[in-house]
């Protein structure tokens, strides 16, 4: 390396752009969350800190609760289903390519398209329930999407459908990269079938879990389009997530300071979950 500064120079543009457009904007938002901003940013500090108002709003608590419920189920089910599909496909089946494409294609669709398609399927009067009625089971009920307590699970269904194929691809790649020697040794020792997977293979899939987790968490944050297309935030306010809350207050309700405060809290929540997980992964990598 003749020029010792080249590496640093190369990465500088990214640092500058990300520094300004991500961390700079986050700082701007944190500042806004203490101001009187309504329609547009105002730089005058508010008498009553918007965070206090935030905690008094029932829709905020509801959004937070929904986020925990949604993320937990979404990430958990996507990981589970993704891994299951990867294991199934890894069994030397015929037609791996078509199966893989079928499971993977939902990721190509935008959240808006996914939400709209699933809104139709889950609608009792024209979708699944109606079809089962017409098949001769008139008492079948599946109206979760119209039920205030169950609608959030519909969002989970649509979201898991969209991304579990991608998780499957990540796990499939991980499975194929598992050390064959270790597997052969285990086979010699008599390990078989599910036992083999459980004790040998899955523990080696750590990196796949991490990558999947990052991608799933990223999608969970971005869920605004999906919720709006699928349920409109309803019934009532039942399916509000923080992304919906931030959008509503920042733009629709002309309460930018409150929206900024909720965005900051959302970031804090994400950091608490994501940073430790990613740090451990990075530490492993540098040791390797």
């Amino acid at each position: 390396m003749k020029n010792r500064w080249l590496p640093a120079l190369t990465i500088t543009p990214s640092l500058v752009l990300v520094g300004a457009c991500v961390y700079g904007f986050i700082a701007f938002t944190i500042y806004l969350s203490f101001t009187t901003s309504t329609l547009m940013p105002q730089f005058e500090l508010a008498q009553e800190i918007p965070y206090y108002r935030l905690f008094r709003l029932s829709t905020f608590a509801l959004s937070a609760k929904n986020l925990c419920l949604f993320s937990g189920l979404y990430i958990g089910l996507s990981l589970l289903l993704g891994m299951l599909m990867a294991i199934l496909i890894d069994q030397k089946i015929r037609g791996e390519t078509p199966f893989r494409s079928i499971f993977l294609y939902p990721m190509a669709l935008s959240f808006i398209v996914t939400g709209t398609a699933w809104k139709w399927i889950l609608d009792p009067s024209i979708g699944f329930e109606r079809t089962v009625h017409l098949m001769g089971f008139p008492d079948f009920v599946f109206d979760w999407i119209k039920d205030g307590d169950m609608a959030i699970y519909c969002v989970v269904i649509a979201a898991v459908w969209q991304t579990s194929g991608f998780v499957m691809a990540l796990f499939l790649a991980g499975l194929r990269g598992v050390d064959t020697e270790v597997m052969n040794a285990a086979r010699v020792d008599g390990a078989k079938g599910w036992d083999m997977y459980w004790r040998i293979v899955i523990p080696q899939l750590g990196p796949s879990f991490i990558s999947s987790f990052v991608i799933l968490a990223h999608m969970a944050i971005k869920s605004y389009d999906l919720v709006i297309a699928l349920t409109g935030g309803g019934p009532g306010r039942a399916t509000w997530l923080p992304s919906v809350f931030v959008y509503q207050y920042t733009f629709t309700r002309n309460e930018m300071a409150l929206g900024a405060a909720s965005a900051v809290l959302m970031l804090v929540a994400v950091s608490i979950v994501v940073i430790p997980y990613v740090r451990s992964e990075l530490r492993d990598k540098t040791q390797a």
């Binding site: 979708g127 790649a173 492993d284």
Partner: protein, 287 residues
């Protein structure tokens, strides 16, 4: 005797489960396609799963070139170009920057490399709503407001995080001996990158291209906010087709339009599926 019967049963079960999952996964697209060739009365009266009685291609023609998008009945066709003009450069830049970052973070002893990587990685979690106003100000100052160039810049910046993630993990696993011997042969900074690493990165390039292409192609918020009448992308046009507040809702045209808009990304996914898995295998998942 028992064992082979057992194995056969397991195989049958395997295909049964896969088949069932495949049906569930195909359901929404089946619904979209089937209802996009039905005349409107059949959709209103009938149910979603049934096949059309009087199949018609008219909704597709409407969505492509005749449907009302704004004041003009142009269909979605004119907006494809705007989306391509925005997506292709952004994906190219994102791949270039991501690969350079990955290269620099893994092949050189850099102080704080882990911290830098962590900072770049964390940037993928920023909610886009808080970006809107400050970025609009920035674009205005740069004179890029309402232009395709502005959109390219925005998408490139927010693609740096994932791009760096993919390439950095890939290059971490790159055979160290190859790099060492190339260096001993006198390969400099750019030669090492351009002649050794990048050509051997095809799988992860595919992963990055797919990911960035999909995200940028499907973006709505930035497309609606940072464009003007001459540069707004396909997602905005699709939204105009599908979300009009009043007037008769032609659901068959909406479904046809949604499918047409999704075609490029679907093609990208299906065509490169094999490379995609290979790329993930070679890259982000090995320790």
């Amino acid at each position: 005797m028992n064992r082979s019967a057992n194995d056969r049963l397991q195989r049958v079960l395997l295909y049964a489960v896969l088949g069932f999952l495949a049906l569930v996964f195909l359901l929404p697209i089946y619904v979209m396609v089937v209802n996009s060739i039905k005349p409107l009365e059949e959709i209103r009266g009938g149910n979603l799963i049934s096949l059309p009685l009087n199949a018609t291609i008219e909704p597709w023609l409407q969505a492509w070139s005749k449907a009302q998008i704004g004041v003009q009945p142009t269909g979605l066709r004119p907006y494809f170009m705007n989306s391509f003009l925005m997506v292709i450069p952004a994906v190219l830049f994102s791949t270039l920057i991501g690969s350079l970052n990955g290269y620099v973070l893994t092949q050189f002893k850099m102080r704080g490399a882990t911290l830098i990587f962590g900072a770049l990685l964390f940037s993928v979690f920023i909610p886009f709503q808080i970006v809107l106003i400050p970025m609009a100000k920035l674009l205005g100052e740069l004179g890029l407001a309402g232009t395709v160039k502005g959109l390219i810049l925005v998408h490139t910046v927010y693609g740096i995080g994932f791009g760096t993630l993919f390439f950095r993990n890939f290059y971490t696993a790159f055979p160290h001996e190859l790099v060492k011997s190339a260096r001993m042969d006198g390969a400099g900074f750019f030669v090492l990158y351009w002649r050794l690493l990048l050509p051997n990165s095809l799988p992860i390039i595919v992963v990055n291209v797919i990911w960035q292409f999909t995200n940028i192609w499907n973006d709505f918020l930035f497309g609606a906010s940072f464009s003007d009448f001459s540069s707004y992308p396909l997602t905005v046009a699709l939204n105009n087709l599908v979300s009009s507040s009043t007037g008769v809702k032609e659901y068959n045209v909406h479904f046809a339009g949604a499918f047409i808009a999704a075609l490029p990304t679907l093609v990208v996914y299906v065509v490169s599926g094999k490379y995609f898995v290979r790329g993930l295998m070679a890259g982000s998942v090995k320790g």
